[in-house]
Structures are given as structure tokens and as C-alpha cells.
Symmetry: C2
């Protein structure tokens, strides 16, 4: 039996409904899963092949490591792709895909050394563990473990899972109580080990992850130009108050800390991560949910340092934040983590791929004053702050995206002993089993996020249980739920209906999706005097194809209107805000003056599209935060 | 005869008055030159010794290159220090300093290889020219040339100048028409070669510099993660429209391009650099004159991308910008370049050293939300965005600063056939020779920048000539000049008085130094809704020792008042602005909301000190741009 579950804690507030028991159809995410299936997965396969990252395994296997291609960590991209393939076959069996997985698994296994060690760079070309700070050696191992977990849960043992187990034993021997005290500069092995423990029952793996988490923050890594915080080695995990340093490293470490906390019953550690997440969400996050205010070190800035133009908000950071929020949601049951996941999915995960699915954003700014750098077809740029590109020299983001999209349905629902939680509102079906073997099958009909009506219909049910539907935080006080023809207001959080459900029973949510203005905390210096527009879970943006974006200002007293859809791709709702076009003073020889007169301006209509859809129509300028007047 | 002249073009609009003919006394810059003499120079000597950067020469000389210490480019810091020592002995002869220069010169010369090649890393430890992109090999050579020029002009030939000449011959042979087509990733050798040509008359050096400039921009360097623009190899120098990429590299290259243009009569090349400077000053400069909006790559941002918090504005970038502006001023005679030099000197060059002269800023932000990172005494941090530190692991800034301060008087005045230009207003004396052997000696009395009165008194003179006094651009229409008891308004630019000067004749400038608010071009998104305060040439800032800086807002309708002086160090004028303290809403779980209420606030006085003086009283928060209401 397959079980499409990337995260399967043995304790916590609720238990995930497997992704193969949740089927998206006909909606926003079904479209993206289909694009992933049809285009993105094979696109990634083509590129890891073209870049020589697969050949690195073959070269290592043949004992010709000098033929290795790519940066130190490219093994991880192969593993993430295998993981994605595995989830995809769990979602939709496909014999050709299955053959490819086996083929890749054999390639990986052939590169393994007799004692279980496996890395195409270290070992063959350089002494093992010679550069834990920057080598990404255990990071790659962690991704192999996650690929193996996907394979174990959707297929069973094969060459790849055998290789992963042997490598896990090697890691435990080399870094266990009788091995060295050390951590990898880039966390990942920790969460991979916990999940491999969950999938295999091997308690050594959990213990090794616990050991890595306990060691982190004790400066076993060397100094770094931007400080030990770069790799989260500045403070023990349980003592830190906020996420900091490199965003993806911080998130992967937080995910692992939750995993360890849940499996070992370490409440203090869990509470520490919850507090770190909350502080980070409140003070170091962009409107899109993205994190990473600094390009240097791909890192968090100080509190409220959130420049829209230099927002790094790496796509991988969003994928990683979904991983952390999901773990926290399962552990605590707190709805704010589901809200965060929704924001991240609609405004970053959906943003990275192009409409055609063959190009990806790596960096996701909220302001482009000048059209971004276009990358020709077939080129993998060194730069990451380009427009979408087919691939990157450092290409962690596309493979992260495809593994999340293939498993996305697994992040939708969870169960407790007595109830079913629907965390994300997507058209499709959900089958779930609660305590006492009570089973239910639901059908969700909605055109969300374009429309606010979400109908949840019970198709099958046995026994009495609670249905918990998430009412998003953004909806404020405007939502109603209709049960048995009775409509009543419901507050953000989980709207709960408990009963002995019968087929045909329905709950209909009506969420208020009128466009709304939002403002930033006054501590965010970079956003003073601006407003942004949201509609439902979507952040909107102003996109222009001329160089006059600075001339436009918005009237924050007049709500944006809805326009007929003729936007790019699957954009169903465009908006138009009321504003002015002001002639700015001609730039002078020096940009600072005692008085700078700006005209009142002439009325103008500001075209807005969802942020996820921008940059699909050629080079453009764009802003999420629009000056108001 | 010594001649304290770092830049001595053979053509151009005016000719520099040597720095040893300009004596600062009793004023702002005299104090800093004295601090340089008493503390800073020896401090740098102590640190290049302590870090092992001197020993690298000894190790290379002994054939023990494995004992080399420090990063690839530390030779350059030794050369910059020798250059500074040489200028300082030209300013104030000192037998002990002279002995030290000879000692260092012998050390350097002993590391030279028989064929003239000289570098403590390449050659001894790695193949010559194996990494032109990142090796800083020719960059180090260029700094040796500049040190040799300082020595030639203030002393004469010695071991160091011989070593420099031999290395210059090696560079010309290796990179000349029969050598390789290549440039160094970090420009510097070019301007060093031109100045060495000027000091020695060896035309090959000029031709080699011309060749390097012509090659730059043709992508002989490999791709770089942030693009070829990082090392200005994206476009030929004469085709570029604005400075971009790494700030210091861009400025050093621009300086060299002016040098080559002036010496070869290449008007097109000169015009190109003027246009690049103007565009950069107008759209990519901070209020302090600083450049570099991005920490990543220490580089320029897009036009009007000028975040105050992440301003990099490296101290070296300010030193380099002074170098470029001075060359442009000599070449064109345009006053705006002298205005730029003043802004850079008072607001960045003066900012870097601590009051005691033993700590330095590397990065110079315009906003600190959280107190910066304090560095313990005796530690050279890897990080550059700390508070002032004794030294840095990469320590280009202190040695750049000391060589500029030792030679600063050479940037004060210049002559044409018929006149004397006083570009900077500093207390002291100026002796100059104009065409036809006409000599003049002036005495400048002023408490500038604290007071606006500048009295220029002729002490000796022969013949009729024009005196040109710079009236700064910031003074607007408020300046008067008094000649023969007649006071008349003068506009920014050069106030010119032509006559047959007699001893005792005076011109008195009265500059308006009332505090003034300035605003940023509306295209600078990061500064919307804020104002800054300037007084005379000084940028002021709000510095606080609590964490409540975000609560303060300023009333831009009420001019700041002057406070009695009790500020740090030599701050003679503190200001106080009128404003309010507002209680900000408590940070919520998410920093973006439909409405965010901010109270009107209670009246508050905002203490302002000159930006150059900040961070001398312990960890603090600071802002130049203050929210207005």
C-alpha cells in the first residue's frame, strides 16, 4: 500500500491524511500538480542530466571522480528529483517513471563505497568530512534519506533505499557518540535521519539527529565572514529566540528540531521552535510569507528589515517554511501555521514556476524598478536574481519545488481521534480515517482562491465526528458558514461542526474575497507611505511594461475594482486600483534637496495582477507596495 | 625638493598645489592629520605586523612561502601604509619614520624575484597570473607603484622604488602587446602605472595602462555569480553610462580612465567618465556621498536603490571617490567635483576613524535599528558590518584612510595660468605659483565647518591674478563675499576676485550654516516620508542609546535649533529637532494589517549630532533619515 506522506510524526496534536487520500481536481493546485507531472519533473530530469550531475554518480562509480561536474552539493538535486518522482508515482502510478526511479537508484547505489559512504565529491576527490562548514556532505546525505523515505512509503525497498540505509549507518558510526563531534554547515541530514527513523524504525537514526541538534550552536564550525549565525552555529537551538542567518539552513534546522522534539517528547525544544517561528513570522517575513531580507548570505535581516527590492525570499526558503509550518501544525494544532502555509503556497510556491512550467524564480523580490535580467533559453545562469530561468548553476529551487508539488496533497488535511481538519481549501476529495476506525469521504467544491465559496459535502461517513474547516485569518469577521440551510458568521480559526454525518450533508463557507488594502507595521522603514492589495489569500502587484512605475500612486480610500479576466495563464481575477499618475521632478545632479515638488497628478487606473503571475509577459517593472497619497 | 602630490597630470584645466605648500592648522582637518600622525599610522604599522602581513614578504624573501599569512591581497596594505608614511614624511620630516620606510622597502625588495616579479602569494605559492579574476595580483602591483610614486616625490629613489620599477617592467612585458590579453579583476594597477609614468617619464607604463583600460569590458575575465559587471568587465569603459558593480573597483577604474584620458588627450574617454560620474552621483549616491547599496559584491544597486540600513558605503569607496573626483576636478575645473569631495571628506572620511584614531568603520550605514556588533579590543573581525574595529580580516580601509589623510592638503587647491583655486575651506596657509612665476601666499582663517565665516588674507603676492574661492552648492543663495569692505551676495560655484593683490588684502566669505532639512528624490523608495538634517557641509543624525528610535518623528516645519556643545570628541555643534514620540502599536503576530493606528504622540526633542561623530559613545541606534509627520 502506498502512503504519500512526507512527514509522519509518531506523536503530536494531529496526524496527516496521506496525500494519496486527498485528490485535487479542477482547481488551482490540481492545475499545478498536472503541470508538475507533465512538464516540470521531466524538465528537472533533463537538466540534472545535461548539467552532468547524474554523470557525477557514474564517474564516481567508475572510479573516475575527476569527471565530476557541478558544485559540491549537486548530489542533493538528484536526490530531491528522485524524491519528487517517488511521490509522483505514489500520486499517479506510471511504469515509465518507475523505471526511471530504478535506473537512478542503481546509478546512486553504484557510487557508494564499500563501507557505506556515499558522495560524489568528498571521498572520491577530497578527504571525507574535510570541510563540514561548506562541503554540504551531510546535507546531501539528508536528501538521500528523504528520497529513500519517499520510496519506502510509495513503493518499498530497492537499490536506493538500501544505499540510504547503508549511508545512514555510516553517518551514525562516524558522528555518533564514538565518532566525531561535528555538524554540517547546511542542516538537512537531521530531518532526513528522523524521517528515515520513522520509515524504518531504526532508533539510531533518531538518536543521531538528536545529537546533531544538541551539538548545533556550540561553534564546532569555523568563524564565517557574516558570523556563526550564518549556519545557525551561534546559539544552541533551544536557546535561540528567532530564526536568523541563512534562511534555508534556519528552516531545515527548525524542521529537524520539531521532528526531534516530537519523537523524543522534548517539550522545551518544541516550544523554542514555536517561539522562534512566531518571532520570525511577526518581524522577519514579507507579505508573501517569504523570508530573507539580505542577498549576502541569503539570510534574514534584523527585525523589520524588509526591503521590497532586495527581498531575497528564495523559493527554497518558502518550500522549507512550508515544511516547518506543517510540522508545527501537526505538533500543536494551531491554525496560524495552516494560515502561513496558505500564504506561502499561493504567493511563493505558485510564483516560482512560469506559466509553461519550464522556468523558475530563485529570488522573489517585491519591487522591480528596472526590468530584471532575462536569461536565454537553455542557459543556467550564475546569477540568482534574474527573471525566471530554465535552470541555475546553483539549482536547489526547481527540485525543491517539484518534490513539494508532487506531495502537496499531503499538506491538506489531518485527523485527530475525533475529527478531521481541512487546513487548505482546494477542490477535490478527501478520504480519512479517525479514531475507532471511523472513516469519512468528503468532496470539496470551490473555485478558490478566485471565489470565496467553499462547499464541503460528505460523500461517505461512519459515526459521529468533528469537521474542522479552516477559516483563514485574512478573512477577518466576514465569513459565514451554512449548515443545514442555517447561515452563521464564523471567526478565523477552525469552524467546527460535530455530528453523526450522513452522505449529502454539507457545510458551505462563504469567505469575503473583496480586494483589500493592507499596511505595514510602521517599524518597516522600507514600506513607509505605501499600501498593498490582497484578495483572498493572494497578494496582488502592479506590473508595468514601461519605465514609469515610480509615477503611479494609489488612493487607499477607494477599494480596487475587479476587471474581466484576460491576465496571463490561469489568472481568473485582475484588479484595477484608483490612483494618480504624477510627473516626478526631473532627476537633478544630486538626489537630495531642501524641497522636492511632486505634482498632484492626473487620475490613473492601476492594473493589478496576482503576484504569483508576474513576469510571464516579458520584462516588466513590478511593485507589491504602492505609494499612497 | 619634496612634492607632496599624489596626482600630477601633465594636462587638464588646473594643476594641483602640492600638499606641502598647503598647511592646515588649528582646524577640523589639522586635528585629523595630527591624529593620523600621532596614532593612526603607527596603529596600522602595528597591525600589518601583528597580522603577519609583513612576515609574508620576509617568508617569500627566505623562500618559505608556506609561512605566508592573510588573504591574497594583503601585500597591498603594506604598500598603502608605505605610501602613507612617505606622504607623511613629505608633510613633516621624521627620521624615525624615514628609517621605517627604508626598512619596509628593503623587506619588500627582498621578496622580489630575479625577473622583477613580486607578489608574496602568486609566484611563491601559486602560478603567476593563474587567477586574474580574484587573485588581486596586479592590484597589489598597482599599490606598490603608488607607494613608489609617493617615495619618488617626497624622497627620491630607494630600494622600494627600484623594486617598483622592476615590477612595472615585468608587468609591461607580461601584459604588453607581445604578452597576454588580460586584466586584473580588481583595477588599481592602471592608475598606479600612469602615476609611475608621471613620476618617471617611462612611457611604457602609460601605454600599458591604456592597454588595460582598452581591454576592460571585453570579458577576458570569467563569468561571476553577480555578473561581469562585478569587475566592470561587462562593457568597455568608454561605452558605459554609469558606475556599477563593485564600488571600489569601479572607482579605481574610473580614476585610471581619467588618468589615461588626460595623458593621451582622449577627450571621448574623459567625457565618458564624467557622464558616468554624474549619473552615479545623481542616482546611486547616499546623502553622505557614499556609494554601494548592496553588501553582496560590495556593489552599486540599481538607480535610486539606496536603502539606509543596508547602505554598504565602504570607507574605501569614499577614499576612491575622492580620488576620482579630484582627477575630474583637475581635468575639467568643474566645481561640482570639489563639492563632492567636501561631502565625502566630512561625512565619510571623517566618519571612519574613532575619536581616539584606533578603530575604523568599514561599512557606513545611514540607519541602525539595533545596536551594531561591538568588536573587542585586539580582534580583527571577519565581519565588516560591525561597529568600528581596530582592524579587519580584510583591512583595506584603514590603510586607505591613512594615505589619504597624510596627503589631504594636496586636495585643497590648484592653479591655472592666471589664478588660484581654493577648493576646500580649511584653516591654514596656501603657497602657490601661477603662470609667469607669479607667487602668492594666503592665510585662511575659519572655524569651518562649525562656523560659516571664512577669511582669506593675502600674505604675499606678486602680480595680478584671480582668486577663486569655492562657494559650496549646499549654501544655496545665502552666501556673501566681502572684499574691500563691500559685501555682496555670491552664488554657489567659484567666487572670483581678480586684482593685483597686496599683502593684507582680504576676502571674507559668510556661508549660511543654519541647520536645514533635506528631502530625497521620490524615486528613492527607501526614504519615503523622511527628512534629513544638514548644517553646512555636515550631515547630521539622530543617535539614541535605547531601543525606541522608531518612536521618534520630526516636524519638518520647525528648523532644528543649536545646542551647546557637549558631544563626543571635536563636535562643536549639536542640534535638537522638534518632533514627537509616538507609541507604536505592539507588534502583532503578523506585521501587515488593514489598519495600523499610530498615536499622534507627545512632543519630544530629537538630539542630533554630526554623522561623522556617531558610535563613539557605546552601542547605539542611529538614523540619518527621520520620519516626518
Amino acid at each position: 500500500m502506498t502512503m504519500l506522506v512526507p512527514v509522519l510524526p509518531s506523536a503530536g496534536r494531529s496526524r496527516p491524511v496521506p496525500g494519496d487520500a486527498v485528490r485535487f481536481d479542477g482547481g488551482f493546485w490540481a492545475h499545478r500538480q498536472s503541470l508538475n507531472q507533465r512538464v516540470m519533473l521531466d524538465h528537472c530530469d533533463t537538466w540534472v542530466t545535461r548539467m552532468g550531475w547524474l554523470d557525477s554518480f557514474a564517474a564516481a562509480g567508475r572510479g573516475e571522480p575527476d569527471h565530476r561536474q557541478g558544485k559540491l552539493f549537486t548530489d542533493a538535486d538528484v536526490y530531491k528529483l528522485i524524491e519528487a518522482f517517488a511521490w509522483e508515482t505514489g500520486r499517479e502510478p506510471d511504469p515509465a517513471r518507475e523505471r526511471r526511479i530504478r535506473e537512478l537508484g542503481r546509478l546512486v547505489a553504484a557510487a557508494q563505497e564499500p563501507d557505506g559512504y556515499l558522495n560524489t565529491y568528498f571521498g572520491p576527490r577530497r578527504e571525507r568530512y574535510a570541510d563540514l562548514a561548506h562541503g554540504h556532505e551531510l546535507y546531501c546525505a539528508g536528501h538521500l534519506f528523504q528520497a529513500a523515505v519517499a520510496r519506502l512509503r510509495t513503493h518499498g525497498e530497492d537499490e536506493l533505499t538500501g544505499a540510504a540505509r547503508r549511508l545512514a549507518e555510516r553517518v551514525c558510526a562516524d558522528f555518533g557518540p564514538y565518532g566525531r563531534d561535528g555538524v554540517d554547515g547546511h542542516p538537512e541530514v537531521e530531518t532526513g535521519l528522523v524521517e528515515l527513523y520513522r520509515a524504518t524504525g531504526e532508533a539510531r537514526y533518531l538518536e543521531q539527529a538528536r545529537r546533531f541538534i544538541a551539538l548545533r550552536g556550540h561553534r564546532t564550525l569555523p568563524p564565517h565572514p557574516i558570523g556563526h549565525e550564518y549556519y545557525l552555529d551561534d546559539q544552541p537551538v533551544r536557546e535561540a529566540r528567532v530564526l536568523r542567518g541563512h534562511v534555508v539552513r534556519a528552516q531545515y534546522l527548525a524542521a529537524a528540531a520539531v521532528d526531534v522534539a516530537v519523537e523524543t517528547g522534548d517539550r522545551e525544544l518544541l516550544d523554542a521552535v514555536v517561539a522562534q517561528w512566531d518571532a520570525t513570522w511577526a518581524r522577519r517575513s514579507y507579505l508573501t510569507g517569504g523570508m530573507g531580507a539580505r542577498h549576502l548570505g541569503e539570510s534574514y535581516g534584523d527585525d523589520f528589515e524588509l526591503p521590497p527590492d532586495r527581498a531575497y525570499t528564495e523559493t527554497c526558503g518558502a518550500v522549507a517554511a512550508v515544511m516547518v509550518a506543517w510540522r508545527l501544525l501537526l505538533a500543536t494544532g494551531e491554525v496560524r501555521f495552516a494560515d502561513a502555509i496558505e500564504r506561502l503556497l499561493f504567493n511563493l510556491v505558485a510564483t516560482s514556476p512560469s506559466v509553461a512550467g519550464d522556468r523558475f524564480f530563485y529570488v522573489n523580490p517585491l519591487l522591480r524598478r528596472e526590468p530584471g535580467v532575462e536569461v536565454p533559453d537553455g542557459v543556467a545562469p550564475f546569477r540568482k536574481d534574474t527573471l525566471r530561468a530554465n535552470w541555475f548553476w546553483v539549482s536547489c529551487c526547481p527540485t525543491n519545488l517539484v518534490r513539494l508539488l508532487a506531495s502537496l496533497s499531503a499538506y491538506t488535511a489531518s485527523t485527530t481521534a475525533d475529527g478531521l481538519y481541512l487546513h487548505q481549501l482546494a477542490a477535490g476529495t478527501v478520504e480519512a480515517t479517525m479514531g475507532g476506525g471511523r472513516r469519512a469521504r468528503l468532496r470539496v467544491d470551490t473555485n478558490y482562491p478566485w471565489e470565496g465559496r467553499v462547499r464541503v459535502r460528505v460523500e461517505e461517513s461512519a459515526g459521529e465526528w468533528e469537521l474542522h474547516l479552516r477559516v483563514p485569518e485574512w478573512a477577518g469577521s466576514g465569513t459565514t458558514a451554512t449548515v443545514d440551510g442555517v447561515r452563521r458568521p464564523v471567526a478565523p480559526g477552525y469552524a467546527t461542526v460535530a455530528r453523526d454525518w450522513r452522505p449529502g450533508d454539507e457545510v458551505v463557507l462563504e469567505l469575503p474575497v473583496a480586494p483589500r488594502f493592507v499596511r505595514a507595521d510602521p517599524r518597516v522603514n522600507a514600506l513607509r507611505g505605501t499600501v498593498a492589495v490582497e484578495r483572498g489569500p493572494l497578494v496582488y502587484c502592479l506590473e508595468l511594461f514601461d519605465d514609469r512605475i515610480d509615477e503611479l500612486a494609489v488612493d487607499p480610500a477607494t477599494p480596487p475594482g475587479q476587471e474581466p479576466a484576460d491576465g496571463p495563464g490561469d489568472v481568473a481575477v485582475r484588479l484595477a486600483a484608483t490612483g494618480v499618475r504624477r510627473r516626478l521632478p526631473a532627476p537633478g545632479p544630486w538626489p537630495y534637496r531642501p524641497e522636492i515638488a511632486v505634482e498632484d497628478g492626473t487620475p490613473a487606473e492601476l492594473p493589478l495582477i496576482p503576484y504569483f503571475a508576474w513576469a510571464n509577459r516579458g520584462p516588466s517593472t513590478m511593485r507589491v507596495w504602492i505609494p499612497s497619497y
